[in-house]
């Protein structure tokens, strides 16, 4: 059960990162940095999807 909560915590952190990256990307003036921030946000988003699935499995 502890593992489950650890994974959930990690998931929450990742969601936080995604949101921060997204807001940073919007605020950044420089186009190249904006692009990189956006791409990283997409990667984090994939991670969130995967972990979400895993959390579902752990709760079963």
């Amino acid at each position: 059960m502890t593992i489950g909560s650890d994974v959930k915590q990690c998931l929450a952190s990742l969601k936080g990162i995604e949101a921060s990256l997204s807001s940073l990307a919007i605020r950044t003036q420089e186009n190249e940095s904006k692009q990189t921030l956006h791409e990283t946000m997409m990667v984090v988003n994939e991670l969130v999807t995967d972990l979400n699935k895993r959390v579902g499995e752990l709760e079963r």
Binding site: I3, D6, V7, Q9, C10, S13, L14, G16, I17, S20, L21, L24, R27, T28, Q29, E30, E32, S33, T36, L37, E39, T40, V43, V44, E46, L47, D50, L51, R54, E57
Partner: protein, 286 residues
């Protein structure tokens, strides 16, 4: 009209005339004195002084002389723009003083520069050892431009194969406690945003001497009250450290789980995150 009044009148008039003529001739006249700008500058000053003091000269003739003298560098400038040969003749070419690390004594002699003067010019460029210099040229304006040998040049990120995030110029949005509308509009921010950011820092706008927004939209301020400590923006380092923590967590999960499928998922994702971290570190660190 008494003489003194005439002199006052002329002085004011010629200051105005000279002001507009310098404006018309542009920044070049002020910044770099080529031969023509040097000579005409002196002459115009001389004419103005004579016409102001010697009231028997007519103002019109003095003004005419000044306009003619001012138009000469203007015309010369126009022709110089078109013809390289004319430019070399009028403005002069640079003479090479050091080439391949060796001093060109003949060129020094031609320009009548002594060794001491060469050393002095080098020192002005922060060079104390002649052997550090690969190439140096005396510009027509009298400045020495120095190219150091590669091993003596300052180290750049390129030399270290470092990737650095490119940045845009910061905008100054607060000066002397006053909000500046134009730079704020340039970066597409509203007054409300600025007030929120100031609130986050816990300062009022009246107490801000200077406030700038960098290309990541972070506000940094300098306060009138130098005893107060202001927090520096922490958002980007925080994102980076959270990302690193998550990456480590994922690796831990991969080691801890029994399910093969889950193990694979965790390690794949931790690799993905590591890649992302490597890519974004220059931005989040900077």
């Amino acid at each position: 009209m008494p003489i003194w009044l005439d002199v006052v009148f002329r002085a004011i008039l010629f200051i105005i005339v000279l002001f507009f003529i310098t404006k018309f001739l542009g920044k070049k006249q002020l910044s770099q004195l080529s031969f023509f700008e040097y000579v005409t500058g002196i002459t115009i000053g001389g004419i103005a002084a004579i016409v102001i003091l010697e009231v028997r000269h007519s103002i019109f003739i003095g003004g005419l002389a000044i306009v003619v003298m001012a138009s000469i560098p203007y015309i010369v400038g126009l022709i110089s723009l078109k013809s390289k040969k004319f430019r070399d003749f009028v403005e002069g070419k640079g003479s090479i003083f050091i080439k391949d690390g060796k001093i060109m004594e003949d060129n020094l002699k031609k320009e009548r520069y002594t060794t001491d003067e060469l050393l002095e010019l080098l020192r002005k460029n922060n060079v104390y050892q002649v052997s550090d210099v690969e190439f140096a040229v005396l510009e027509p304006t009298g400045d020495l431009s120095v190219m150091l040998k590669k091993e003596n040049q300052p180290l750049t990120p390129k030399d270290l194969n470092l990737t650095v995030a490119s940045v845009k110029e910061p905008q100054t949005v607060i000066m002397d406690g006053q909000l500046l509308d134009e730079p704020l509009a340039t970066i597409g921010r509203s007054h409300a945003w600025l007030h929120t950011e100031l609130e986050k820092l816990g300062v009022t706008i009246e107490n801000v001497f200077l406030g700038q927004v960098n290309s990541y939209g972070e506000l940094t301020v300098d306060l009138f009250d130098d005893k107060l400590q202001v927090a520096s923006p922490q958002e980007r380092p925080l994102i980076l450290s959270t990302m690193k923590k998550c990456q480590a967590d994922l690796e831990l999960f991969a080691l801890g789980t029994i399910s093969k499928e889950a193990k694979q998922m965790y390690s794949k994702n931790s690799e993905k995150l590591q890649e992302a971290i490597d890519k974004i570190t220059p931005i989040l660190k900077g």
